[in-house]
Amino acid sequence: MTIGRLVTVVIGLGAAGGIVPSLRAQGTPEQLLAQAITMLGATEPERAVELLRQLVGDLPATAASSVRRDAQLRLATASWSLGLLDSATVHFQDAARADAFFQPDPDAFNPEEVMAFRAARRAVVAVGVRPPGDTLLDARTGRWPVAVAVSQPGQVQLRLAGLDTAHLAARTVILVVDSTATVSVPVMGADSAPIAPGTYRLVVAYSAPGGTVSDSTVSVDVAPTTPDSLAHEAPPPDSLFRLEFRLEPRSGNALLRSIGVGVGAAAIPLLFGDRRLRTWDTQSRALFVGVAVSVTGLATYIFGRPRRLLPDNIDYNRALRSAWEERDRSIAATNAARRATPMLRIRVVQKP
């Protein structure tokens, strides 16, 4: 071995051993992807391809599938632009495997890229599932909706299996999927009894003319739960109610009557009282009573306007109140029924 070759080997070993900063030290996968996108924007696809190849090679198994997919897509489009059609096809296939749901947006990907992706997707056997993150189901009749995407028309089997054991926890659903479908997975066993609480794997087996593939990366936590009760409705606001009476206008007769009664109350003792008993004191009292009666009458005139009831409005308000009471009773009945129904809460604890 010549000295030159020896130096090359040493440098190579040094790089492999960590003298050169590892890719992980340069940033998170998302940051590296952003760097590569910047390079592509600067029309430096060779550098971007180099970085992206390292990125997809170093991506941990736990990396988000969207990052893996985007990195593979960027790598594929960069390779395609460089005329490396074989490499591009391989990366498009990897992107389809990373996310079987992905379909390129014709506005974002040029027609050649769209065409190449579709051809690559057809050539691989890939399956993807997207269960809802948190679902509440009737334990007796509920069905868990799971979105499924396949790269080729084929048969898909879905079942919930125990995390530790391979025993079947729930009924298996088998269906033929052309591209995407939403599958309703029953949450009950073969004996129609609800599945026991615990952690389960969603096992997906997909067989297509191009081969078979299985996936069990989704784990779910199944727990019995009390369903959320419906909130009682607030009573209708006052603004919705109509006036039930109307104030009538004041009448001059009422004013005269009240003053007259006061005058009468003062005048009667003065006019018809025993003069012998009359003193200044008794006169002033009579006058005081008369004034008091008049003032009372006046106050009644001012503050005590006559009211007229409005039967239509009263009926309307009564109907409004009854409707609310009816709804409230219905909510109460629904809540009672819900409390009596066994429910299961299915939460995804590990996504694909």
Binding site: G41, P45, E46, A78, G83, D107, A108, P111, A119
Partner: protein, 286 residues
């Protein structure tokens, strides 16, 4: 009576010695069989005789083509007739259509095929050959396509099918296919080729050697069609596209966006990176 005797003799002759016949003779026999209305007999003879490697594309070949198209159209195989006509018109674009001896359906089929084949630019980048079956093949037997590398890494992609492995034939149903061929350092090229029943279409890329110039890198947001000196060369992003040294007109256009026009000057061995051109929304040409 005489025709029936001729057909019987012809059929016996074919059965015993078709393999020994040259394609040229098969073509002649096919024309004669057609002329006595022995269409079932004529069809395999004509398809075998159309092999361009067997002889010139002369009046006999054109006569055979007309008869082949007529038989296929009459038997309801319009799409197969269209494929044969497109293939033939790529070999001989100046075929004079015989409208006197053949019904209008044949003339219409020729016109449609001419409409498809006459639009494209003359292909100077690829060379195409056909490997004909040794014996007359069935009407609907699948054909194949094969690309051959010319000493450089070559990749080829068939639209709607996928990648082709250079040197390996890919069986395909008959039809017209768009093939993208690319070799690093050389311009990529889209070509249209027919796959005929039982025939292997062989495409060779004529590489025009290392370009005495530089390479263009351009991207746009959103993607657009790239024209160099008024010729469509691909979509953005375009990378390492070989260009002759000198000044070139670059145009990027997309429907709904204002076209971007500029002049680029590239020197020998230069990698000209134009960057990402933001296309402005507006009334763009298609």
């Amino acid at each position: 009576m005489r025709a029936a005797a001729w057909v019987a003799a012809l059929s016996i002759g074919i059965a015993t010695g078709a393999r020994a016949q040259t394609p040229r003779n098969l073509l002649r026999l096919g024309v004669e069989a057609y002329d006595v209305a022995a269409y079932e007999t004529a069809l395999p003879l004509l398809t075998a005789g159309m092999n361009p490697a067997a002889g010139p594309r002369d009046s006999l070949w054109v006569a055979g083509l007309h008869r082949l198209a007529h038989i296929l159209l009459q038997s309801g195989h319009d799409s197969l007739a269209a494929v044969w006509l497109r293939w033939a018109l790529r070999q001989k674009p100046d075929v004079a259509v015989d409208t006197l001896n053949f019904p209008p359906t044949v003339g219409n089929a020729f016109a449609l095929a001419q409409g498809v084949t006459s639009g494209g630019q003359r292909d100077t980048v690829t060379e195409t050959l056909w490997e004909w079956p040794a014996s007359p093949s069935g009407r609907l037997r699948p054909g194949a396509i094969r690309v051959e590398r010319s000493g450089v890494p070559l990749s080829a992609f068939v639209e709607g099918v996928g990648m082709l492995t250079p040197g390996e034939p890919r069986a395909l149903p008959y039809g017209t296919y768009r093939v993208l061929m690319s070799a690093p350092g050389h311009a990529r090229v889209w070509i249209e080729r027919e796959v005929l029943p039982g025939v292997t279409t062989v495409v060779r890329l004529r590489l025009w050697g290392p370009v005495a110039g530089g390479y263009l890198y351009v991207a746009s947001a959103p993607w657009g069609r790239v024209y160099l000196d008024h010729q469509f060369v691909g979509y953005t992003p375009l990378a390492a596209y070989p260009m002759a040294a000198g000044t070139h007109q670059l145009r990027i256009e997309r429907l709904g966006y204002t076209p971007f026009d500029t002049t680029v000057a590239v020197q020998r061995d230069q990698r000209l990176r134009v960057g990402t051109i933001p296309l402005k929304a507006g009334a763009g040409s298609p």
